[in-house]
Amino acid sequence: MTSLSLGRVLRLSVLSLGALIFIAPYIFMISTAGKAQSEIFTSSLSLIPEQWSYIENFTKALSRVSMTTLLLNGVIVCALIFVVQVVVAIPCAYAMAKLKFRAARFMMVLVMLGLLVPIHATALPLYVAFDRLSVLNSYTALVAPFSISVFAIFLFLQFFRAIPDDLIHAARLDGMSEAGIVARVVVPNAWPAITAFAIFSAVAHWNDLFWPLVVVTNQDFATPPLGLLYFRAAEAGDDYGALMAATLIITLPLVAAFLIAQKRFVEGITMTGLKG
């Protein structure tokens, strides 16, 4: 099987060449982040900096925009969104999947409709409302519209349906309340779905530029993508060394998380691939 037939050599070469093209941006990002301005302008194809300017470039990147604030904001916003989404969606999905709930069908219609509507479609009225309520430039503004994830309800619903009814009946006979059943029977059985959704939600909101751009104008509440945009604006020239250093700092957390938990990431994204 593993002998090097001609076909396999060809296959491996094609895959390797493609892989090289796909990681080329990362290679150039790391290389350019260590080059001095003058070197960037003269030899863009050499990968190893002649003079190591990592410290200068990283210092510049860290001093222009507060990277720690950005990353912290990213973590706070993503964590808040995820926790609220799960706390809201799980009880609802449980009621729809396992309880005698007359409105379950109607809810299903709402969920399917909701899946169609991205934040870009609801942004205008939400922005006007948030402006009237004077909550722009706040964590509330960044988190609130995502407190309801119809996709989470949809995903958990599929998962909860597969939990045997007997398990729930047994818990009831033991005198557990419905809330207790959700917390102690349903949630422990739904971990794969919850982790998959966690990854999906974190990737989506860590990356989102549109909504933060709409509601945040104050650097103190900027998320990583928005912060990078500010950095680019402040760095009007072609200081690609510092720009790449900033890019590297901001890309690293998610890429590191992905490399550590690859399998979960791929599973999570495939499982949740339903949502565009």
Partner: protein, 303 residues
């Protein structure tokens, strides 16, 4: 469990259960109305008004906004740019993803490694990687044109010229989405029963291409349809790269739908007019999903 004589307690228990169900679902229902249904209805209504942020009142203007849209050259440009972008990114990223998935699937050892590499862009910050691509595409100091120069080719000013900017953005879009599509195809490929290939071979499908045509392609039908719909929807929603790199320029050559909506609504604050654009955007999404269901109903049932 319950005896036939105790109907009343059962009815009571049912009602209690229904009440608990409502209680558990209440927060979700409330938020769904507040943040999805109400704003969607509001966009439909606002599309018929001349509402502008900063001005107090507004009046209903009927279809005036829509009439203006038809004659709006920026909007028409934006629609056609989005269509061109989608028409490039979707097929290329699907074909590449399928090819890579099949090559990886046939590989025995380095599967996980290649999957990781091709998937990496999906897990990277879009705005950050767009910045890297801007450097790669730089007309004078960028590695892409430096490489082309090695072969004596004068590279274009990728993101700075109206003739190439959409292609530049499309290359970034393809790079970003191939890994995602590939993972979905890999899942689809693993689900194909091995003996189908053996059966095809017995039936005379000797060449690789014959087996692909007779087994792989038809069995992947549902996956392909799904990947196609998602890819189209994601391409129609292109925004991050445009906002970060080109701001719709040069000369509106990279104006895309969401960017135009963003400009009108949140920069010029013409909420009514931007709402009408949003309605068009929503209509496109609805049509795409509707088409997916239609095709799904008709074509891709094998089981």
């Amino acid at each position: 469990m319950a005896s036939i004589a105790t109907d009343l307690p059962i009815a009571l228990a049912d009602r209690r259960e229904a009440r608990i169900a409502w209680l558990l679902a209440a927060p979700a229902i409330l938020l769904l109305f507040l943040f999805i249904l109400l704003p969607t209805l509001a966009v439909l209504v606002l599309g018929f008004t001349d509402f502008e942020l900063g001005f107090g009142g507004f009046r209903f203007v009927g279809f005036e906004n829509y009439a203006e849209l038809i004659g709006d050259r920026t909007f028409r440009r934006s629609l056609s740019n989005t269509a061109v972008y989608t028409a490039i990114v979707t097929p290329v990223s699907i074909v590449l993803a399928l090819a890579i998935a099949m090559l990886i699937e046939a590989e025995t050892r380095a599967k996980a490694f290649f999957r990781t590499v091709y998937f990496l862009p999906v897990a990277s910050l879009v705005v950050a990687m767009a910045t890297v691509w801007q450097f790669l595409f730089h007309p004078t100091i960028g590695p892409i044109n430096a490489l082309l120069a090695e072969f004596g080719i004068a590279g274009p000013n990728w993101l700075g010229a109206s003739g190439t900017v959409l292609y530049g953005l499309a290359i970034i879009g393809i790079w970003q989405s191939v890994g995602f599509n590939m993972v979905l195809f890999l899942a689809g490929l693993t689900a194909i029963p091995r003996d189908l290939y053996a059966a095809a071979e017995v039936d005379g499908a000797k060449s690789w291409f014959e087996r692909f045509r007779l087994v792989t392609w038809p069995m992947l039908g549902p996956t392909t349809l799904f990947v196609t719909t998602i890819s189209i929807i994601n391409s129609v929603k292109v925004f991050e790269t445009v906002k970060t790199l080109t701001e719709g320029g040069p000369n509106k050559a990279s104006e895309v739908l969401l960017f135009t909506i963003y400009q009108e609504g949140f920069v010029y604050l013409r909420v009514g007019y931007a709402s009408a654009m949003t309605v068009v955007f929503l209509a496109i999404l609805v049509i795409l999903v509707f088409l997916q269901y239609r095709v799904l109903d008709r074509k891709v049932h094998y089981a």
